[in-house]
Amino acid sequence: MDIEEILLQCLLCPGACTPSCPVYLGTRYTPSRPVNIARALYRGLVKGGEELLVASGYCSLCDRCREACPVGNDLPSVIRIARRRLGDARARKLGEEAIYMPSPEAGEAVLPGMRLKIIDTWSMYRAVSYGWMVRYRLQAGYSEDVDVHTGPYTIELLENIDIKIPIGRYMLHIPCKMDRGYIERFRRVFGREEGVLERCMGGGGLDLIAPKLLRMIPRPGTDIPVLTQCGRAAIRMRSMGLEAYTPLEVYLGGTR
């Protein structure tokens, strides 16, 4: 991969991917726009200003910018490289602390018959995550694996048992690539959503790597329950006083 080529292409564009970025849409923090991460990484990786690589932490690696880019520029891969390069003491420490475990609080539970596996490379994540991934580990700090999802296993499970749970009006929260493939499944099980929230609520590890961004996410304007595939987003929305659930929580009868 030619890092300079990719970054240059971003630098010569005002940011066609901007409205696709759930982190930017969520925070409205200009430095988190993919094109601005690219500008910081151009200095950090091409011109040698290592300290600028921290900007890579603003990304949730959802891949939407690559899809929205008119030329399909693969910025997310460069961001992953930057995170790995960063690997300073602080990041390593963060990585060691942040081994991700299923959180009952977030509606994640280890159910009978569910397979557990620790994923520690991005390619592995991509290869296996769709369908049954349950958890994976944050490797060395700002590494490629910092993207923490609760995994789509919950909805997969619901599909397997083939039930319908009509829950009335609800908003669907689908900020990440992993979740987007599952909209139809959500609909099949829970009925049609009232609307879709596309902003990142900090589930992709933002709370670990860029706490400032997390503080900037305003309360989503919704007075009806939110169904989210992301357990961390559910926790966060609840802390904001919203009614938010993961599908598994609904299936298991709610958290409260």
């Binding site: 005002p14 900007a55 503080r215």
Partner: protein, 448 residues
Amino acid sequence: MGPAERLRKLLGDDYVITGWPDILPYTRDYTVTRIHSELRDGEEDWFIVAIPGDEEEIMGILRIAGEEGLGVAIYAGGSNVVGRYTPRERVVIDLSRLCSIEWYDEESGVVAVGAGTIIGELEDWLNRRGWTMGMIPQSVSVATVGGLIAMGGIGMYSSGYGGIEDILLGLEAVIPALGHVRIGPSPRRDLPLPPERLFTSSEGMIGIVTKAYLQAYPAPETRVRRGLLLPSFEEGVERLRRIAHHRVRPDMIRLLDEVETQVTFGLEGAALIYEVHGPVDMEEYVEARARALERLVGEASGIESVEMWFEERYRYMAHLKRLYSAGIAVETMEFSPLWSGATKLYVELRDILLGMDGVVGVSAHIGHIHPAGCGIYFTVLIEADKLHEVYQDLWRRAVSVAAKYGGISHHHGMGMVRKPYIELEYDGWVEAVERIASALDPDGLLRP
């Protein structure tokens, strides 16, 4: 307490930026010389970024900036191309948080929207409800509502839907001398100095637009795209003039000169492409308009894939990168010749630019037509090493020629690039602009 601390107290720590890497995005806009400075390690300016959430906070920032003797620069989408955004030694106000869609009156097709909302985001929101603003600049995914108002923007569907001035029905703003003002939407206004006109193309000199009331239309359900190949650009100009005068207008039109036709379609001649819109189940209306257009411009022929242009339109960064890698920088300049001068401007300016040291290529197209003339857009390829050296001369010469045949601007604005030449068009009026701006912003906070 210094200005940064005072701003932090006002807005909270998260909404004030002074250090790396977060300050980086604010070091430049999209002006070609600034992009190239960044690529080549240009020097860095000192400034503070403040990110307000409402009008009250904007007023607070203006007060602090004034008391600290600092100017203010406005950053919205950052897509300005004429050097209007000048952060040096200023407080930069980032308007990104003013991004709400407040209400939508579907009966009137009027939407109230925060000035920091990205045009593409708003358009997408409207599209999902079956509506459109018909305002699609090439920078649609970054340019904001306020940026388009302040810089007098226009989109590719201008011939059907007009420019920002045609859809702006009212606005809210913070004016340094007055505070928060609100002028509600009206389909037409006959009152003195209507702010929607005063603020259009104001370039942030009289206040900060915080909200706009914009017109939307039901999204077209039927579209016809046609194209034809003409022997020359000059011939194309004549046909555009005909349709502008007869008011048989398509919703989008574009005439490419021989160079752009060759680059886009690999064909000899000048390509003319257009698009006609109509409501659902009205194919016959759209067809009839397309046929009427054909009567005026000629039968569709010679271009197999009109779609190619629409696809290539957003892939400019790939071309820019190829050119940059080959040591070439790209500048764009748009002017408004009267029909009587359009061809003369094209030929004369092209030849002058091509004769300049450092200029390696020139092309042009016309994308906007008006009853009296058009918006012509030149693309100039310059040896990157000579960019800074030739830049001012390039503009000086281009503007002098443009002034002979009509207007020296069309939709990118004045900025720092055209500022030295504004008197070529504003004979005796520059002083009026200064005085109006001074009355509304007596300390000159907003004027670079």
